[in-house]
């Protein structure tokens, strides 16, 4: 599909992208057939089958057992904690992401390249290390441990630690989406708004925000998916206390280790559904987002001057 787009020498036509490519540039039928088959088989074996297994196992003992294992208090607690974590981590990273990308795209300052590199840090480090950093910082033996203990503040093996670790791991998503978008759009609209007498806040709310909303939403969706699905970092800081510090992914592991397959896969199926919903919303937003990126440049409009 992508190659077909690139190879088409004519202007892309509205709605005609999926049409037959020009005979001069396309590969022989056999080559295309082999490539498509390889891709589909790979997709089926490594993605389709596991997804199917999750649901098959979850409903292995019938619908009643499935609902029962989701209504169990520890499972409910895990679902609640996961939702709470995402509800805190996503807005935090939303604010940070907008602020960072705003600063990076619109201003020049000392340490800009350092900031850009640091934003990517959570992508580069293993999540387990991320979790460990928090244990080393806030744990009883850690730097701030004694002070926290003295003031009776619990971070490690408690909800705050889980939220902090999740924020760390999901840190780059929003900023990474917004930086290229904001850079493509440049400063002119903001300058125009300011010259018309708008305050900084009015400019942000009425001009900048509407221009980035699809990119922002896209970043938030990815951020949310990762926040709910994070395992490594959270696992290190949580302590796996059932009903208290278990998020859904951790709860799945606990159940699985206890050979409670139906319950494990039932909770896992929720995560799988979340993933599917995320994919659907992501595709929809992506479509709008691409149009937004295109509009970042000058778009010649139809019709001549009067």
């Amino acid at each position: 599909m992508d190659t077909a787009l690139i190879l088409q020498p004519t202007k892309p036509q509205r709605g005609g992208i999926g049409g037959p490519s020009t005979p001069a540039t396309t590969e022989p039928l056999a080559v295309r057939g082999v490539l498509i088959t390889i891709a589909l088989v790979f997709l089926g074996v490594f993605l389709g089958a596991p997804l199917a297994v999750v649901f098959a196992e979850a409903f292995a003992k019938g619908t009643a057992a499935y609902w029962e294992s989701l209504r169990e208090p520890d499972a409910l607690a895990a679902i609640k904690l996961t939702l709470l974590t995402a509800a805190l981590a996503v807005p935090a990273n939303l604010v940070f992401g907008v602020a960072a990308s705003w600063a990076i795209a619109k201003f020049d300052f000392v340490g800009k390249s350092v900031l850009i590199t640091l934003i990517d840090l959570p992508f580069a480090v293993s999540p387990v290390i991320s979790g460990l950093i928090y244990v080393l910082l806030f744990g009883l033996q850690g730097w701030l441990g004694p002070w926290l203990a003295a003031h009776d503040i619990k971070i490690i093996f408690a909800v705050p630690g889980i939220v902090l670790a999740t924020i760390f791991v999901t840190f780059p998503f929003v900023a990474r989406e917004l930086i290229p978008l904001m850079q493509a759009q440049g400063n002119e609209e903001e300058e125009a708004a300011l010259s018309l007498g708008a305050s900084g806040w009015q400019t942000f709310r009425r001009v900048t925000l509407p221009n980035i909303k699809w990119g922002l939403l896209y970043g938030v969706i990815l951020c949310n998916a990762r926040a709910m699905g994070e395992f490594g970092a959270v696992s290190v800081v949580s302590g796996h206390i059932r009903g208290l510090t278990n998020t859904m992914p951790l709860h799945v592991e606990v159940l699985y280790n206890e050979y409670n397959f139906v319950a494990a896969f039932a909770v896992a199926s929720l995560l799988a559904v979340l993933a599917l919903v995320t994919l659907a919303v992501k595709s929809a937003v992506e479509w709008r987002y691409r149009r937004e990126l295109k509009r970042g440049g000058a778009t010649p409009g139809p019709g001549g001057p009067a």
Binding site: E189, A192, P210
Partner: protein, 358 residues
Amino acid sequence: MSIRIQNISKHFGSFAALDQVSLDIQTGELVALLGPSGSGKTTLLRVIAGLERPDPDSGAILFHDQDVADRSVTTRGVGFVFQHYALFKHMTVFENVAFGLRVRPWQQRPSRREIRERVQKLLALVQLEWLANRYPSQLSGGQKQRVALARALAVEPKVLLLDEPFGALDAKVRQELRQWLRRLHDEIHVTSVFVTHDQEEALEVADRVVIMNQGRIVQIGTPEEVFNHPANEFVMNFLGTVNVFQGRLETGRAFFGPLEVDPSSLFHNQAGRAARAFIRPHELEVNTHKNGQPSFRARVIHINAAGPQAKLLLESENGESVQVEMPRDRFQSMGIKRGDDVYVSPKNMRVFMEDYVI
């Protein structure tokens, strides 16, 4: 409102975009800042607008004799029109024009009805009432630029600043829009400054032209003054096509390329200095025979007779290229063909002594 710029400098790193620039602009004037890219004209415009801060130790900018250095672009009361329009993409034409009125603090904000009336009046002024509900992506370049202008005028600016307003438009639309801008300015009389790199545009539209090069102002004057009395070689070169002849002085005789001229009228006390003669294509007369005037012989290399002026490319006997323009009917009556030999004599020339800049 008059604008006075006193000794303004602006550096980007070590690059001097503006170097001690001073300029006075009268109330109601339409001034063009003209220069090649990198000459500092856009920087000067942005400094006037308050979008760019001049160097901290440089001079002052006065609006109506009041220093505006510490006023930001938000409070300076200027209307700014951007080269690429900078329309708000997610707002309709109407909302774009209304923006400046709607963001006012509520005590100063006009009522909804007043805003509607004001916007409609402005859209009528730029002849775009029928597009009020369109989005910018649905407009042509010329329409967008007129919306941008209406939007800038909505806040009743005391100064209108336009950054290469027609730079992104195609030739025909540009021609129409600049005549339209001139008429609009005659109608509303707001002090206006516009930046352009197109000398034709500057000469046609502006009351006064400010020619800039390398961060400095080279010449200020009416279009006629700068065109007919260019201050130096740069201005001469920049304001249109020109033939350049290297000068050399021999005992009692002066040569500019293939052309011999009477040295007494030119060199005054400058004898011995290198000089160059500048002659515009239309200032050269072409004849098929010698007519007694000082002239040189050249061969016709190329003819372009499309348009009101016939443009000839000639080559002198020592291989110099010479461009000549003449009215089309004269060209036709002479019956010159490619490869013919002709005699070229100057009707007018300007001689500049070379500066010792080595």
